[in-house]
Amino acid sequence: MNDKPAILELRNVNKSFGPIDVLHDISLRVRAGEVLCLLGDNGAGKSTLIKTLAGVHKPTSGEILMDGQSVTFVGPSDAQGRGIATVHQFGGTFPLMSIGRSFFVGVEPTKGWGPFKIYDRKRANEIAVKAVRDFGITRIDDGDRLVGGLSGGERQSLAIARAVHFGARVLILDEPTAALGVKQASHVLRIVNEAKRRGLAVVFITHQVMHAMAVGDHFAVLIRGAIAADFRKGERTREEITDLMAGGETMADLEAQVDGYMETHAGHPPSLPALEAPAAH
């Protein structure tokens, strides 16, 4: 299907914090122009995995490879320098700053020379607006607009466009569609597709199966720090994936449990502790 070598690969990675094992024997690979969806319920170890990919944590054992070469990230900036960009929910955008200023934080374009270098507002705005518009967000046309005035989807898109503009090869998106409306989320998914089309390797972390299935080429379900399932597009149905994420308890079981409870309790739905089942989102 896609025989290109993986840009980023984890081989048998374990991570523990003291006596607590968080990740068990994780092996993953992301290729250029491919979206890898990491699915998992809260507490499944998703954020530890992201931080390991982004150079925040070092694996306790196992190997990280980039372009087939074993690498050790010194820190997050090292990973960034190698082209791994992590975009957290709204991360890297500043609500009370203009789009242009926010886009170029830390790498401001300047004109002039020596100590008299001045911030080139016009150029910053032009580049920022163009970068976002190239991703299909054509409603952004004024680089002086405040980021806080954008919709959630637009802000997320701005953050992604920023990462791509500054040379990301691997894009790690941490729950980019969480807390977004249906329409907003679909725009972010379109951006993800655009990044994929441009040949970026995308790691898409989510617990919304629908969103994952809309863009994913490859799926990995994480349960209690281990990969419980690893499959390609079209190999599983939505129900199967949801059931996997819920830790093996099928939604059908859950429904039966609720129905049974309601029959014996005069039609009242059970309270959460009574149900004792992990809630699937």
Binding site: F94, L96, I140
Partner: protein
């Protein structure tokens, strides 16, 4: 939220430029404080009569404004960066006394006293910055601590060295002219220094790329650090700037009044913060402008001094300043909301 993000039409050239004017105005942090300044100018122009409008009347509030203004500017930058500095209240008298003791008590050259005083300001600022960046204690608490520390040391050392809580200094003619002269017999030369500070810090915040770092730092420290901004160095630098500015005012004061008192400068703490907040700087950081801080300082000083030109009880002045502060924060919030929401609406219509 209901508007589509991706639209196929609406190229940039089609945007109605006239409709943007209000949005652009609302985006400027100083819009609210400009209205406030106009309001107090009109009020005291009418009720203060010719006394307020005369050269002497103008000098009375400009002199006050220049001293507070030099301190309010770096306090404003710190606030935009998300920090507070209370210690300026102690640095002012400490710098005054340092200059007075070195050059007055010991009779060493004036420039040595001035250098020592400014150095002291930088040192206190450096300590503040160091504590703030190395610990998780809020800067409000840290600078209250260093304020008391500086105050205690100033009092103790002054009494020990000079034997009293006040030290006099008669500066040489050139130094007097640079720091402590009156232009036209009534305008303190400090006003010109204030202009220098305004121009310099305007350049820093609005023209140089470092200004962007300051906004980013106050907007989201974590993201700023991730974006590669040297947040610790920047924070320490800003605290040193405020220490330096406070020391500068201390030096100016001792040159103007030719004596230094241990208990001077306390009023500057709240007054400078008020000027900054009236000027439209967001207390929690990330938003504000130099022009706004200047407007805020002028507004504060006009009320502070203008009250004496009216037939009102001078104590009413404090009430007005208090009310002004609340109104300023409310209007600034409104303007900020307009700045944030205005563009989305406009975008939705196009």
């Amino acid at each position: 939220m209901a508007h589509p993000v991706v639209s196929t039409s609406a190229p940039a050239a089609d945007q109605p430029q006239s409709g943007l004017a209000l949005g652009r105005l609302a985006r400027r942090p100083e819009s609210g404080s400009f209205l406030g300044l106009v309001a107090v100018l009109l009020f005291f122009g009418v009720f203060g009569g010719s006394g307020f409008l005369s050269a002497a009347g103008t000098a009375s509030w400009l002199n006050i404004a220049s001293e507070i203004g030099i301190i309010a500017l770096p306090i404003g930058l710190l606030m935009i960066a998300g920090e507070l500095d209370i210690s300026v209240g102690a640095v002012i008298p400490a710098a005054s006394l340092t200059a007075a003791i070195v050059s007055g008590h010991y009779g060493l050259p004036d420039w040595l006293g001035i250098t020592a005083a400014l150095g002291l300001g930088l040192a206190v600022g450096f300590l503040n910055g160091l504590f703030v960046t190395r610990t998780t204690i809020p800067s409000l608490i840290i600078t209250i601590g260093t304020m008391f520390g500086t105050m205690g040391l100033t009092l103790g050392l002054t009494v020990k060295i000079a034997g009293s809580t006040g030290v006099s200094l008669v500066p040489g003619p050139i130094v007097k002219e640079i720091f402590g002269d009156y232009l036209g017999g009534m305008f303190q030369v400090t006003i010109l220094w204030w202009v220098v500070f305004v121009v310099g810090l305007f350049w820093l915040l609005h023209i140089s790329p470092i200004g962007n770092w300051i906004y980013a730092l106050g907007g989201d420290k974590e993201s700023a650090r991730n974006a590669g901004i040297p947040t610790k160095r920047l924070t320490i630098g800003l605290f040193m700037l405020s220490g330096f500015s406070a020391a500068f005012v201390g030096v100016s004061e001792v040159m103007v009044y030719q004596s230094a008192q241990v208990l001077a400068g306390q009023s500057f703490i709240f007054n400078s913060i008020m000027c900054v907040v009236i000027g439209g700087v967001l207390l929690t950081g990330g938003f504000g402008s130099i022009v706004g801080i200047v407007f805020g300082t002028l507004t504060f000083s006009i009320v502070n001094q203008g009250i004496y030109f009216t037939s009102l009880d001078p104590n009413v002045g404090s009430v007005i300043i208090g009310a002004l502060l609340l109104i300023a924060v409310l209007t600034n919030d409104t303007f900020r909301q307009m700045a944030l929401s205005y563009s989305s609406k406009k975008g939705g219509q196009s």
